[in-house]
Point group: C2
């Protein structure tokens, strides 16, 4: 029996994709071999690599003004690659809205004059600060934001105005979940393991021309231009993850693209938030305007009940509902692949649990 997996990432993948990949696992597309065995210099893999890029461009509306690469290392590696690739003035401004944006800021400080331009730490990251152009240094190499806070469950509602300063967004926990105007950003990056594919591939979307003056200290493997020049095939790529990303992109495209999936995600999130808001037992602490539609943290009246909730839910196949260790409580991560039925099953359980423990 398949469970409903509410993990913050790696997380659920669409069942039709898993079934397709399973079916093709010993021989992909008549090649007589598994994608796990395929040379990255072979025609079938080059086709996968090209199709993954082309579908992502279609789904996100990425113009030819941007390069797109599929690389290794995770968003954590990008925390350091960013200041090493964009370093003309050695100044960078960070908006700190959670643990990961704070981590990105700290790592950047090793290589550039990193400054916190705004933060929501004063209220435990439960909102997104109002941002204005004047808050950023005009000669900063970039402004960095994390679009969706996986741990607390906040999200930006639009790209902030940074004037002429390039805007960089970590979209790991919301990429492809809602429509985004890519043209507002200079760099978008995302680890794939939440909304796209198995862990191991990281997507970086870079405005053309931006990556051509990395720091002399930047390792070759952290230079975006290294992989841009070689179409993500400078060295052996994380091929199986990229292949599954391609299959997920096809699935999304078949659903009607990001516009359609955003509607589904909003419906799913609204179901859950409405239930929480109408309950006197459960509580979500995020300012309504900034609530994430991907990560929904909530608490019951006590820590003891929280623990009981997580453990009883798991027995019913509603798993990985434990909140992040820094905040406790529960968290339901409801990425693209979580079906509406999963939300309904969760709400049913929440009702019963409330009834039994009020």
């Amino acid at each position: 029996m398949r469970v409903y997996n509410f993990s913050a990432g790696p997380s659920m993948l669409p069942l039709p994709v898993l079934e397709k990949v399973q079916k093709d696992f010993l021989s992909y597309g008549g090649t007589g071999m598994s994608v796990t065995e395929m040379s990255h210099r072979s025609k079938p893999y080059e086709a996968i690599n090209a199709e993954a890029e082309s579908l992502l461009r279609k789904l996100m509306g990425i113009s030819e003004e941007y390069d797109v690469i599929f690389i290794q290392g995770g968003a954590s590696t990008q925390f350091e690659a960013i200041p090493l690739n964009l370093c003309a003035h050695k100044k960078a401004d960070y908006v700190v809205t959670g643990v990961f944006s704070e981590k990105a800021f700290k790592e950047a400080g090793k290589f550039t004059d990193a400054k916190i331009a705004a933060s929501s730490k004063d209220k435990s990251f439960t909102y997104i600060p109002r941002l204005e152009k004047s808050m950023f240094r005009a000669d900063a190499d970039y402004v960095h934001i994390c679009y969706n806070n996986t741990i607390i469950g906040t999200r930006f509602r639009a790209a902030p105005d940074t004037g002429a300063v390039p805007l960089i967004a970590d979209m790991s926990s919301m990429i492809l979940s809602e429509e985004v105007d890519v043209s507002k950003f200079s760099v978008i990056y995302a680890g794939a393991q939440k909304n796209i594919a198995p862990a191991g591939v990281t997507i970086v979307i870079v405005k053309k021309g931006l990556a051509n003056a990395p720091s002399p200290l930047c390792p070759t493997m952290l230079k975006w231009q290294t992989q841009i020049n070689e179409k993500s095939l400078y060295n052996t790529p994380p091929a199986f993850s990229t292949y599954m990303a391609m299959e997920v992109f096809k699935w999304l495209d078949g659903l009607g693209g990001v516009k359609a999936v955003q509607k589904m995600n909003e419906e799913k999130a609204n179901l859950l938030y409405d239930f929480i808001d109408n309950s006197a037992f459960y509580q979500n602490k995020v300012e309504k305007e900034f609530r994430s539609i991907m990560n929904v943290p909530f608490v019951s009246p006590s820590e003891e009940l929280d623990n009981q909730f997580v453990s009883e839910a798991a027995k019913l196949g509603l798993i990985a509902l434990k909140g992040h260790r820094l905040v406790g409580g529960m968290r339901a991560s409801i990425y693209n692949a979580m079906p509406k039925e999963g939300i309904k099953a969760l709400i049913e359980f929440m009702k019963k649990f409330e009834k039994n423990n009020k």
Copy 2:
């Protein structure tokens, strides 16, 4: 129909492992989810991570004096991580026996005083130079070798004596194919995509205490100690590749371990080399003593025939036999997962091709 895939990497994986992974693809070990969906902070994944390490330790005889990590980035990232992690004297000696060891040397030169202590470039890398302790600088941070040259098909027969200078070996294309005395090395590293698992995971085996003084310039994500401290779970790991590595380790263990598989590999390689040596049509240019048992390059009497060979073989399900673009000709990569039947089928084809084109 499954093909015999002679690719230099990514390359064939054992069919029983592929079948097992396929069977468990929608629900691993009764968890109700695919390993591709599993949180790296979950008990089932922590068990996979721990078992992969423990089996590798058993198979290679790695003592507790070493740390073992499973990370992202490929051997290419290690080319830079090495001089950034080991930099007490900012001097490093390289033995250049092929394209990849040369690349490792060049990348290191950005961060350390890298010196070529010995090279076999004078004879197009067709041998391994005789090495003596006196050839290395006594105050070098390390001596770097590539144990098996994937492109030309040479291999070291034993660890060279570097005295008190730590020895580092890139074992990407031969790890687990033959017995190696780990205690002779300070660092062993290998991309998994040749002998172990799908691309995306890199194994680094580091002598304890060696990694505790990285360069201040070393990005956090390139510091070995970062992942050593967190048992390879500092950030989201390439979980599916590590899981398949674990399954391949189990398979190897079931075959009788590295000793047993070495015997099989030697038999396979001997079959092929003997056939080539007894033929007036095919030729392998490597000095016999240094022939790789993993990568067997050979040529026919002309480039035209080489091309014809590769193309006709592919039609019969003997694929990826084209030699590396730098050397041309053919190359049969015959890693652990290539069955003896694959070698026999190749030799049968070689016979026929010779007969038809003599």
